[in-house]
């Protein structure tokens, strides 16, 4: 589904953060992306999400050459990808419910058609009673779950999650992980960036370790 060939990336004139990365993320696959802080996990996810262009190498996303994807095509491709940001990126002037419903709203859906879906998902991630409050009054873990719900609401073909369990206690982390596994069973490829070893040990999945700008894959 997504393929990297000898991809390198540097920010501006800085050092090369990622070097000669080659990887393949198949459909319906499940993998962890790990590595020390500052290794470039977020950067790699941004490449996957097309919010960055590689400085060299070839990226193929959904069968398309990244360098040939026009600005107009980008939104439609991004709709097939769900992202959970490390810093959540919730909109503070919208309630939890509205934040989670945002991807549906920008697709022009009628609120009547998705209301129950959003409500159910919010209940599932344990935010049933926090639906109509604004993000600034949510706890870190609650924000995290709202961000996850927003990424999942459209059942994307691939889910990219940056430290999705960084702010929650172990039982909730396990529950979220189960959610990701369930999603994977329904056909979504999942990439979880984390340095939580405990989390990785709970699932027997592919591990991609970033260190020194290079990527090692352990199947």
């Amino acid at each position: 589904m997504i393929r990297f060939e000898n991809v390198g990336l540097r920010y501006g004139m800085g050092p090369e953060i990622l070097r000669d990365i080659s990887l393949h993320i198949p459909e319906r696959s499940f993998q962890f992306l790990s590595g020390p802080s500052g290794a470039g996990k977020t950067t790699l996810l941004r490449l996957l999400f097309m919010s960055l262009k590689p400085t060299r190498g070839l990226i193929t996303i959904f069968g398309k050459d990244r360098s040939r994807i026009s600005r107009g095509e980008l939104p439609l491709l991004r709709r097939r990808i769900g992202v959970v940001f490390q810093d959540f990126r919730l909109l503070d002037h919208m309630t939890t419910y509205e934040n989670v419903a945002l991807p549906l709203r920008v697709r022009g859906r009628e609120e009547a058609n998705y209301r129950t879906d959003v409500t159910e998902l919010l209940k599932w991630v344990g935010l049933g009673d926090r639906m109509h409050v604004l993000p600034p009054v949510l706890s870190g873990g609650e924000k995290q779950r709202a961000a996850i719900a927003r990424a999942l609401i459209e059942q994307p073909e691939i889910l990219l999650a940056d430290e999705p369990t960084g702010n929650v206690d172990p039982p909730l982390a396990r529950r979220l992980l189960r959610l990701f596994i369930e999603l994977n069973r329904l056909g979504t490829a999942v990439v979880i960036a984390t340095h939580d070893l405990g989390l990785m040990e709970q699932v027997d999945a592919r591990r991609m370790i970033l260190a020194g700008g290079r990527l090692d894959v352990y199947d």
Binding site: S51, P75, R79, L91, L102, V106, E111, A112
Partner: protein
């Protein structure tokens, strides 16, 4: 979220639409209104519209007056005869008066006699002077039938060969000069209007760019959840259309108020000298239907201009960040 009662299936449809409407009304706008420096912009646009409307009103006033002047024929013309060596002034006056009087469209001629001429000159030369000793030109006043004015060129052609020192003044030069001045004023007015509109466009560009930059985090999230540029632009355009229309309407209303006060003032003070002066120059201060139509037009133009400008700015800004993205954090 209100749950739909399952035991009222027949009411479900109605209930759902009711709930939906309730929720939809509650849905926060994607770009919150308070994030857009609304009030200052409304004020600026109102002021710009007000100035445009006043300029437009003044331009119509001057243009209308000029066209009245242009078509107006003076009620009188004058023949002036300068004394020259060997000219019998009285005979010349009589001859010129006779020639002029024969033209169709001339209702009468009157020679300004010595005493009257002396009186005319009194303020400059003092009393008790002998007019015969001075080379003073003499005048004939030619009264004209306004409905059927004489051919001044022919009259001039008839008089000058016989009396080379005679000059016919139909007051056209004076009126032509006024009309030329009025045209210049109109041109300046339009230039001012163009400047005001450009300033408005630039203000809106800056305000829009500011609003976009201030809402960068929202735009970013919208991009990430797969919003198309069109969708994002629409969210912003709506705000600016409202802002533009509000400002333009306020400015237009203020201008109309000023027009109304002016025409009220000029009709009330019809008899006072100031008003007479103003009336002499501009007719009365009534801004005709053109003026009011112009205000309406100006409001629409500025509202549309604001919306179009902000839309173009938003689209340019969005393609800009897409290009900048590889470097940006």
């Amino acid at each position: 979220m209100t749950d739909i009662p399952v035991d009222h299936l027949q009411d479900e449809a109605a209930e759902t639409t009711a709930t939906v409407r309730r929720v939809q009304r509650k849905m926060a706008p994607i770009v919150p209104a308070q994030n857009i420096a609304g009030r200052a912009l409304v004020l600026v646009i109102a002021i710009m519209t007000f100035l445009s409307c006043l300029t437009f009103g003044a331009v119509t006033l001057v243009r209308d007056t000029a066209s009245v002047w242009e078509n107006q024929i003076s009620r009188e013309a004058t023949v002036q005869i300068k004394p020259v060596e060997g000219l019998d002034m009285e005979a010349a006056l009589a001859q010129a008066s006779q020639i002029a009087g024969e033209f169709p469209g001339v209702t009468g001629t009157k020679i300004v006699d010595r005493d009257a001429t002396a009186r005319l000159l009194e303020p400059w030369l003092g009393t008790g002077l002998n007019i015969d000793e001075l080379p003073v030109p003499r005048l004939i006043v030619v009264t004209i039938d306004e409905a059927n004015p004489p051919d001044f060129a022919a009259m001039r052609a008839a008089i000058t060969p016989k009396l080379p020192s005679a000059a016919l003044d139909d007051h056209r030069t004076w009126v032509d000069r006024l009309v030329a001045m009025a045209h210049t004023t109109v041109t300046i007015g339009f230039a001012v209007l163009a400047l005001i509109l450009s300033a408005t466009v630039l203000t809106v560009v800056f305000a829009t760019r500011g609003a976009m930059a201030g809402n960068g985090h929202i735009i970013e999230v919208l991009h990430f959840v797969g919003a198309e540029a069109r969708f994002i632009a629409r969210e912003f355009r709506w705000h600016f259309l409202v802002t533009g229309m509000k400002g333009a309407a306020a400015g237009g209303a203020a201008a109309i108020a000023v027009f109304i006060v002016f025409s009220w003032w000029s009709s009330r003070n019809m008899a006072t000298p100031q008003a007479d002066q103003a009336t002499a120059l501009f007719g009365n201060f009534a801004i005709g239907s053109t003026g009011y139509l112009g205000v309406g037009l100006m409001v629409l133009v500025i509202g549309a201009l604001t919306a179009a400008t902000s839309h173009a700015t938003v689209v340019a800004y969005l393609s800009d960040i897409d290009i900048r993205q590889p470097e940006a954090g």
